[in-house]
């Protein structure tokens, strides 16, 4: 009886390591049990591609693809799907963008944009069945070549196809074949290079494991074309499955006469042997590979002579890579014109890439040359997971380079990637997110090549070790700026004077990171910081490193875990004097880097901070004592977070500090913009009052118009923190009807002026937090229907995901891909005209640029439009003091000292950075206070004592077990929209202590005898490589 279902079980390397063979065995058992063995055929296949989701099971004829199948799931699949025809939904793929399940393999986005030529059979046939290979058209091309074409004809086809070497160098394959064909030698050799050694590259393995005959057929055609009798596949010993499948494929091919004497009853005879390499990376270099094939030490030799004239045993030798051979039969069978129609002008056909790193869908993909990098990463790869930002992609492994975000629209080809300082290489693509340290990445690759150098030539052998020394020094914070020049000089020397390709390309990872991420090297050298919080010698813990104010999170959390809230508060005040505010509105950069996420979820650091701050407020704690007054005076303009922070730390250092505020209330945007349901004003006041008690004088209603007057008044220095309060506008009509306001004015009206006028229908334009704030505030003021119109995709909204989710709960509707073009209405606004947008090419931020779609314009009926599309600084005050102001009103300052071009005048916060976060402003204010102290003759030291690790008094091991993150109480959405009362509740004291104990103490790096004393996850956090 014919089968009714074909069930393909992926047995590629990745799926096998996630136990796909157990799934297969269970399938066999279950089919027997249900008497389905005759109707359902199980096929073990090679790699299907999306390795992340293995084990994969593909069921035909429906084409249903199941992911992450465990043996325990098999019974359900058999009884539900195979017997009753009900697809098991929980094992299906899910769309990344829309919340839907995808049943069929071909509609999964991962597969949609791919074009499988090389991988056509991988995951589709049983690699151990030559019959299935033949059924899929196999050996037809070999038959066609040897019976109907001349060798010259085959070579001509290869040339015309435009195929280039897929091993990395991209040399035209047909030309290479022609060289070998033209050699006058009775004996010639073809060699397949399967010594795949790049970290993160596994395409050759997948082909050998999933479709070995395609390589055999390609080699046989090549042998016919160049006139060779012997073939060798040089495959690394680390690929036992590939060796096994190749070996059985060779036997099967011999048995059917595709190898051996008189192939297809012609005069052509050819056979292939397998040679197993011992795993030296350098043996991927062709001359080293040949040396190793011959049984000698695997070291490269000088070319010429090239292998095509003198290779194995001095015979003319054709050497191509696995993927190159895998293309051959398709070109012969379907013609060079077909092949040449795929790809770009100079790079034809497809390329297989191994996607790995920080990307949702890791695995093997095959795309036409010319596919853009962005399509590869986002459309196929599914983008960067865990809400992180893309930083760069690394291609070509240790010989390749990095490509940063602004180049996402680059079509992939040999030429374009080379222009960017990267290479196509063998096809490894490592996606790097914001948590990657580029210096450490370069160090990793140099460490690899330094240890894989054959040791023959001096620049590579000794030079790479010296580069590694220097990179090590930099990642330890011991680098000097001169090191960069030396590093570059060494890199260029090695690149240009090494003997073989290994050395000539080994410096590329350093050169390309220096090209695009030099600032990161400089951060390590000048400021001894690792922005990605990877280089462990340079920070206390990842949370501390990622905090713009560098709050010693591990220390205060440790105090909290001991129940000592007062000590925790003291630690916090050393670097951040606004704990009540930050405990509520902080972006919590710390949590995004929290290593606890490797176990389940980050520690709820912000909520912990709030508990601590509320405790301090209720117990009227003052924080550390300021130094005695030193008699000098400093003026601060603006009472937002930057000004308050700078003022506080100046007071701590002994300065008499006066804050000038133009408005009748202190706090800047925290008072005028952030709604009270997020930040109650008594909390704001408590934090500010504490700063006043610490010795800062705040003068309200005191606008400053002339900095020189201040300096003449006896202030030794001035810190300008006037924020970015000017609302940006859109050209929506002229004159604008009533009912169109800016988000800034709307929120300020509510919180400062006490106005509360709102329409029944409100449309908010924008995607940032102030748009969300406006929308949620409008709901609270009684608006029936609030819509946010945003021109990009929802996933691209800059507002925090938490805020967006809460807004939706409160009934705010988000209309993304919608760009307002004008208002409708005369006296009063009646509607908002919007164009519907489509996702265009990627912009410099790595998001897709919205472009107008062909959908018709829509009109949103509304009685009020709130424009919250961004704010900017004016720079007026500083311009008046003769300081140059850049575009957007921003003032250029030194990032460490916050000093402007004029000595004695410092600036920070939104005024210099543009709209940013409270905690960034606090960090800037503190840095400025230190610099002002130095400027006025002090030593700029705020904390003279060394950091002390806080001992804890509970059983830490118990808390490294999985333990859910604590969630504070939240008011229900229905209640929330009835008032401006605070939405988020706080932990009970015991709950806070419990939550604090989830901290893994990444700050405890090593004990004296060099043993890491943290938990395993703590070690992971302390490790420099990810």
């Amino acid at each position: 009886m014919a089968g009714r279902l074909d069930v393909l079980v992926c047995s590629g390397g990745a799926c096998m390591s996630s136990h796909s063979l157990e799934v297969k065995e269970e399938l066999v058992r279950q089919l027997e049990a249900h008497h389905l063995a005759d109707e359902v055929r199980i096929v073990e296949t090679g790699c299907m591609g999306p390795c992340q989701y293995g084990p994969l099971v593909l069921v035909y004829p429906e084409g249903v693809l199941y992911k992450n199948v465990a043996a325990a799931d098999v019974a359900e699949i058999v009884s539900e799907h195979f017997l009753k025809g009900r697809v098991v939904e929980r094992l299906l793929f899910r769309s990344e963008t829309a919340d839907r399940i995808i049943q069929e393999r071909r509609s999964i986005p991962f597969f949609e944009k791919q074009m499988k030529i090389v991988l056509a059979n991988c995951g589709a046939i049983n690699p151990e069945s030559i019959e299935e290979y033949i059924g899929a058209g196999g050996y037809e091309a070999l038959g066609k070549a040897v019976t109907t074409m001349t060798p010259e004809g085959v070579v001509a086809e290869m040339k015309a196809s435009g195929l280039r070497g897929r091993g990395g160098a991209g040399f035209p394959t047909g030309t290479k074949w022609d060289f070998v064909r033209r050699e006058k030698s009775p004996k010639k050799v073809v060699v397949c290079n399967a010594d795949e050694g790049d970290p993160g590259a596994f395409m050759d393995r997948a082909v050998l494991e999933g479709d070995p005959h395609t390589v055999i057929e390609g080699m046989a055609i090549a042998a016919y074309a160049v006139g060779a009798q012997h073939g060798y596949v040089y495959v690394r010993a680390e690929y036992p499955l590939a060796i096994k499948r190749l070996r059985s494929a060779l036997e099967a091919a011999r048995k059917l006469g595709f190898l051996g004497d008189r192939i297809f009853e012609t005069a052509f005879s050819f056979d292939i042997e397998i040679r197993v390499g011992a795993g030296a990376f350098v043996c991927g270099e062709e001359t080293a590979l040949i040396a190793s094939l011959e049984g000698r030490r695997g070291v490269p030799r000088i070319r010429p002579p090239y292998p095509s004239t003198s290779g194995m045993w001095q015979l003319p030798t054709l050497l191509n890579n696995v993927e190159t051979y895998a293309n051959v039969r398709h070109i012969v069978a379907r013609g060079s014109a077909w092949f040449a129609s795929i790809g770009t002008e100079q790079s034809k056909g497809t390329k297989v890439f191994a996607l790995s790193g920080n990307v949702r869908n890791t695995g093997l993909v095959e795309v036409p040359m010319g596919t853009t990098i962005g399509e590869l990463i986002y459309d196929i790869g599914g983008g960067v997971p865990n809400g992180k930002r893309l930083k760069a992609i690394q291609t070509g492994g240790p010989s390749g380079g990095c490509i940063p975000v602004p180049y996402l629209n680059t079509p992939i080809s040999y030429e374009t990637l080379k222009e960017l300082g990267a290479i196509v290489g063998s096809g490894g693509v490592i996606v790097l997110d914001e948590d990657t340290c580029m210096v450490n990445l370069a160090r990793y690759f140099v460490e690899f090549t330094a240890s894989e150098s054959c040791g023959q030539c001096v620049p590579c052998r000794s030079g790479l070790v010296r580069m590694l020394d220097i990179l090590d020094r930099i990642t330890r914070g011991e680098g000097a700026m001169d090191d960069l020049a030396l590093l570059e000089e060494l890199a260029n020397t090695i690149k240009r004077s090494s003997l073989c390709g290994l050395g000539q390309t080994a410096p590329n990872p350093v050169l390309s990171t220096l090209q695009y991420f030099r600032d990161e090297y400089e951060e390590h050298i000048r400021h001894k910081t690792c922005p990605a919080a990877v280089c462990a010698a340079l920070f206390v813990a990842p949370c501390e490193a990622s905090c713009p104010a560098h709050v010693d999170v591990p220390a205060y959390v440790a105090h909290l875990s001991n129940g000592d809230f007062a000590k925790a508060f003291d630690i916090h005040m050393k670097t951040n004097p606004l704990p009540g505010i930050c405990g509520r509105v902080c972006y919590a950069f710390c949590e995004t880097k929290c290593q606890r996420a490797q176990i389940e979820e980050p520690v709820a650091i912000r909520d912990l901070k709030r508990s601590m701050a509320d405790y301090a407020m209720e117990h009227k704690l003052a924080g550390p004592k300021p130094r005695a007054r030193n008699g000098q005076r400093v003026a601060v303009v603006g009472s937002g977070p930057a000004g308050l922070s700078c003022g506080y730390f100046l007071a701590q250092l002994g300065y008499e500090t006066v804050l000038f505020e133009a408005l009748p209330i202190a706090g800047g945007t925290m008072a005028t913009g952030i709604p009270t349901y997020r930040l109650p004003r008594d909390i704001l006041k408590a934090d500010i009052d504490r700063i006043v008690r610490a010795g800062v004088e705040i003068k309200l209603l005191s606008p400053v118009e002339d900095l020189d007057e201040l300096l003449a008044d006896g202030y030794g220095a001035v810190f300008v923190a006037t924020g970015a309060m000017k609302a940006q506008t859109l050209a929506l009509g002229d004159p604008l009807p009533r009912g169109v306001v800016t988000g800034v004015d709307f929120l300020k009206g509510i919180h400062v002026d006490g106005t509360s006028e709102v329409g029944a229908e409100v449309v908010v334009i924008g995607g940032g937090n102030s748009a969300i704030d406006s929308a949620r505030a409008a709901r609270r003021l009684g608006a029936k229907h609030v819509t946010i119109a945003y021109r990009r995709a929802k996933a691209d909204m800059p507002a925090s995901p938490e805020e967006i989710a809460e807004a939706i709960e409160e009934g705010v509707e988000i209309l993304d891909m919608t760009s307002p073009t004008g208002v409708v209405g005369g006296g009063r606004v009646e509607g908002l005209r919007c164009a519907r947008m489509a996702a265009g090419p990627f912009d410099a931020s790595g998001r897709r640029r919205p472009v107008e779609s062909d959908q018709a314009e829509i009109v949103l009926p509304t009685s009020m439009v709130i424009v919250a599309v961004g704010q900017e600084a004016t720079g007026e005050l500083l311009r008046g003091a003769g300081i140059e102001v850049a575009k957007g009103g921003l003032v250029p300052v030194d990032p460490v000292t916050m000093s402007t071009s004029r000595p004695g005048i410092f600036a920070g916060g939104d005024a210099t950075s543009g709209p940013a976060t409270v905690v960034e402003a606090i960090g800037a204010g503190r840095r400025a206070a230190i610099a002002i102290d130095r400027f006025l003759g002090g030593n700029g030291i705020l904390e003279p004592e060394e950091r002390v690790e806080v001992a804890t008094d509970y059983d830490e091991d118990a808390y490294t077990q999985e333990r859910a993150r604590a969630v504070p109480p939240m008011a229900a959405a229905g209640t929330r929209i009835r008032s401006f009362a605070e939405v988020r509740g706080r932990f009970a004291k015991e709950q806070a202590i419990e939550e604090a104990r989830r901290c893994l103490h990444c700050d405890r790096k090593q004990t004296e005898d060099g043993v890491c004393c943290g938990s395993s996850a703590g070690e992971a956090a302390g490790a420099t490589t990810r």
Partner: protein, 124 residues
């Protein structure tokens, strides 16, 4: 091995691989819910598979579905042909299944007596 021999192997195997092609002309869906199986859907399914095998039909696939909600008419079978309305047969037996293969699938004549419904593809 000659080219002709190779092609023979291929034809034989292709029949074997037809399920994976996704390009079948006719799809026969057998309702295999609890009531379907109770009414003899297993035998119907086997008969379809057997008949298709015997007649070397390479462009027909047989698949299964769940309960159709019409227990009294089980076993229920749908015959879906490209560019044709879907034909739903009820009260199938192994014998009737073989007839559907010959008359409907091969010759394109609907087996009138057993038809429950004819459904336009768009209306689904």
């Amino acid at each position: 091995m000659k080219l002709e021999e190779l092609r023979k192997i291929r034809e034989r195997v292709q029949n074997d691989l037809r399920l994976r092609g996704g390009a079948a002309r006719v799809k026969i869906v057998v309702g295999m819910g609890t009531s379907g199986i109770a009414a003899g859907a297993r035998e119907v399914l086997s008969a379809f598979l057997d008949e298709i095998e015997k007649r070397k039909l390479t462009d027909v696939i047989v698949t299964q579905s769940g309960e159709k909600g019409l227990a009294s008419k089980e076993p229920i079978v749908e015959v879906i042909e490209r560019d044709h309305p879907k034909v739903v047969y009820g009260g199938m037996t192994a014998e009737k299944a073989r007839r559907v293969v010959v008359e409907h699938v091969i010759h394109g004549t609907v087996v009138e007596g057993d038809v429950l419904a004819i459904v336009d593809a768009e209306k689904e």
